[in-house]
């Protein structure tokens, strides 16, 4: 009896293991939920997502699909993609991604399905309505791999009351910007004249418009590093100097937009350069103490004019491993339709459809000065706000280093020279 029991127990254990294994295998493959297909959509936390989420029942009713929505913050979203797409998952169908940050890498890795035929299939949906700059950055090797949904331009946020107190007009040049920052800081103890992102990597995108307005760029026409050019050095010193001299006391060098925006909306800064897509944070009385006195203006002009970036910050793509690419495309087509783009834009998210921008309805909910500033930025904007390479995160840290050095009062010219060498290394590798 004793002998038998040993084997019996072992057999039961083995059987349980096998059964458990089969069951898990079953559940992993089960995506058809009693006939209704489930579409797995991964989106970033954004006003865009909130609006789309509220409209989802319409899509589900029209198509009979069930949409399973996962939502993450920017960094968590990147990490999710890194882990899941690396493993070749088919558990993501539609994915919201950042064309300028991850687009090249994802396309090169073959994570993004080729949508070239899909975008041309439906003339009513009208692919040609999408602005060319954003479309360019969702195209890889001649193939369309994403549909741009959100665009961003850099604008100047300012406090009307503080400028009026100083008797100053809205700054239109870099000199006026510096003078206004100085005046505000001197007249209002505890209030910074100017605030902007300071984190090595986070600041790069908002610094880019300064770089362009001073006549520089990250990469020159020959594909070489341009961040040690005299224009770039001047831009680094200017941006860093503004924050060092007229920024908040004890300025942190880790600030991204939430921190910088908090300083501005708490009434602790007079001038702030940031992406327009975040304007609701400053105009919403619930999140902003300065909602009634905030104004918007185009980027002040430097030696190279007023040149802001005009970029697609987010796009929708389809996972190349998805088993439901047709259904995934129907979701994208629905979410990027002219009708929904208009509704989303009225909720404060700038879209990528030209017809919506031309429609007076498209900017009807925007503060008038913001709409005007955006129009300026879109007209002569640059289509990238960071180096366009495959290794964007690494490149951002490199080209962002002189910004931090300038903010902390170091030798930003020397830092730019060193950064340029390192950046050239990345460019040579690719």
């Amino acid at each position: 009896m004793k002998r038998h029991s040993v084997v019996r127990v072992a057999a039961i254990v083995a059987a349980t293991f096998l059964a458990a294994g089969t069951l898990t295998a079953c559940s992993a493959g089960a995506s058809d939920d009693g006939g209704a297909k489930t579409l797995r959509v991964t989106l970033a936390n954004h006003v865009w997502t909130d609006t789309i989420k509220s409209k989802l029942p319409e899509f589900e009713a029209a198509t009979g699909l069930t949409v399973e929505l996962s939502q993450y913050g920017e960094d968590q979203l990147s990490d999710q993609y890194n882990v899941k797409l690396n493993a070749g998952t088919d558990e993501i169908d539609v994915m919201m991604y950042r064309p300028l940050q991850e687009g090249k890498l994802f396309a090169k890795n073959g994570y993004l399905a080729d949508l070239s035929d899909d975008v041309e299939a439906n003339a009513d949906w009208d692919w040609s309505d999408f602005q060319s700059g954003p479309v360019e950055s969702t195209t890889y090797d001649g193939n369309v791999v994403g549909v741009p949904i959100i665009t961003e331009q850099e604008v100047l946020y300012y406090r009307k009351d503080l400028l009026a107190k100083a008797g100053l007009e809205v700054p239109t040049t870099m000199e006026e910007l510096e003078a206004a920052a100085k005046a505000i800081k001197e007249q209002n103890p505890g209030v910074a004249g100017f605030v902007a992102r300071t984190g090595k990597s986070a600041a790069v995108t908002q610094f880019s418009s300064f770089l362009y307005s001073f006549g520089g760029d990250f990469i020159d026409e020959d594909g070489n590093s341009a961040i040690a050019s005299p224009e770039a050095k001047e831009a680094y010193a200017f941006y860093g100097g503004l924050i060092r001299d007229y920024g908040p006391e004890n300025v942190s060098t880790d600030m991204s937009w939430p921190e910088a925006m908090a300083i501005f909306t708490q009434g602790q800064a007079g001038l702030y350069t940031e992406a327009d897509s975040l304007y609701k944070n400053a105009t919403d009385p619930e999140t902003s103490k300065v909602s009634d006195t905030v104004g918007f203006a185009p980027m002040p002009a430097g030696p190279g004019g007023s040149v802001a970036y005009n970029v697609p910050s987010w796009a929708l793509g389809i996972n190349a491993e998805s088993a439901y690419s047709a259904e995934a495309w129907s979701f994208i087509e629905w979410a990027t339709s002219a009708k929904l783009t208009l509704e989303v834009q009225q909720d404060g998210v700038p879209g990528a459809r030209q017809s919506v921008w031309e429609d007076p309805e498209g900017t009807s909910t925007y503060p008038a000065d913001l709409a005007a500033a955006i129009a300026t930025s879109t007209k002569n904007g640059v289509g990238h706000d960071r180096p366009r390479v495959i290794k964007v995160p690494e490149a951002r840290e490199i080209v962002g280093d002189p910004i931090v050095i300038a903010i902390t009062g170091g030798d930003s010219d020397a830092a730019a020279d060193a950064a340029s060498d390192a950046f050239q290394g990345i460019l040579d590798d690719e």
């Binding site: 004793k2 038998h4 084997v7 690396n86 890795n109 004890n250 300025v251 708490q266 495959i390």
Partner: protein, 307 residues
């Protein structure tokens, strides 16, 4: 089963006796194999990646590059060695203070007193808080502009400090947070050791006229050696691997100057930010070897002392 027994009785009997003789191994084997695979497979994969130039996607084609990754990492004085140094400063500093502080508190709690229960619960509170929540909380407290810490300093007339945002103050500030959170665990472990001590040696020393410091230093502490070493090993490994509070407060790369970039943060950035899986794996393997070496020294010394 019964048919097997009747048709091949001798073979079955052999197996059965063998199984009964090795019962403990047989029953433990599923779990052992499972755990073994869970450790061996990822480790083997990391080891393999560390000798390739894998980047971008682990499914993309990569080449075997031998030990060139190791050479590159070991000669990297810009990110790798500073990260090693920060890892040791953080671990060593935090661990030393936690031990001293933990021992003091454990000695205070050793003898029964009124309200003992409440004090013990209060002391354990930081331990049960989620590390990421702890990180966010201290980040708010240490905010240079609107944080509570600088407000307190201003009440007593000390100028505002940069805390987490300063290039040279960030790491000590995070060590403080680690000490705040993990001293209770050290207290708990040391207290367990203290309560298991018998009273006789202490009494004998008292009768011999030893003062309280002498009784602690020459009697209690030597008796506590084993407990203290176990505490150092456990908390030390834990501190070496700290990731959550560093990442929650300073993000990828450990700040604009990499001021709190320890080996863990560095490896995370390499794999999740740079997608440089070859180099990231190399750093992790070196980190792993480093921990093994430290553990070996600690346990070897302990054995040597014992004999």
């Amino acid at each position: 089963m019964t048919t097997m027994v009747t048709t091949k009785p001798s073979m079955w009997k052999n197996y059965s006796t063998w199984a009964n003789r090795h019962r403990k191994w047989l029953f433990a084997s599923p779990a052992m194999i499972f755990v073994g695979l869970l450790i061996a497979v990822p480790l083997g994969w990391t080891l393999y990646l560390s000798v390739t130039d894998s980047e971008g996607s682990v499914r993309a084609a990569s080449n075997l590059v031998g030990f060139s990754n190791y050479l590159e990492v070991l000669t990297d004085t810009e990110r790798f060695w500073p990260a090693v140094m920060r890892t040791f400063v953080f671990t060593g500093g935090a661990l030393a203070i936690e031990l001293v502080l933990g021992m003091c508190i454990a000695l205070l709690l050793w003898r029964p007193f009124r309200g003992e229960k409440w004090v013990r619960v209060a002391i354990l509170l930081p331990l049960v808080a989620t590390p990421v929540a702890v990180g966010m909380m201290w980040r708010l407290i240490f905010d240079p502009n609107i944080g509570f810490a600088n407000q307190v300093l201003s009440w007593i007339g000390i100028p505002a400090q940069p805390w987490l945002s300063g290039q040279y103050t960030a790491l000590p500030t995070l060590m403080f947070v680690d000490i705040w959170q993990w001293t209770p665990m050290v207290v708990l472990m040391l207290l367990a050791g203290l309560t298991s001590l018998s009273d006789e040696p202490d009494e004998a020393a008292r009768i011999d006229g030893a003062n309280s410091w002498q009784r602690f230093w020459f009697v209690t502490l030597p008796l506590m050696r084993a407990t203290v070493i176990v505490t150092i090993v456990l908390r030390g490994i834990d501190a070496l691997k700290t990731f959550d509070i560093l990442y929650a407060t300073k993000g990828k790369g450990g700040g604009s100057f990499h001021e709190v970039e320890t080996l863990n943060i560095y490896a995370f950035g390499l794999s999740f930010d740079y997608n440089d899986y070859g180099i990231a794996s190399t750093v992790l393997i070196l980190f792993f070897l480093l921990i093994i070496a430290i553990m070996w020294v600690l346990t070897y010394r302990r054995k040597a002392n014992r004999s």
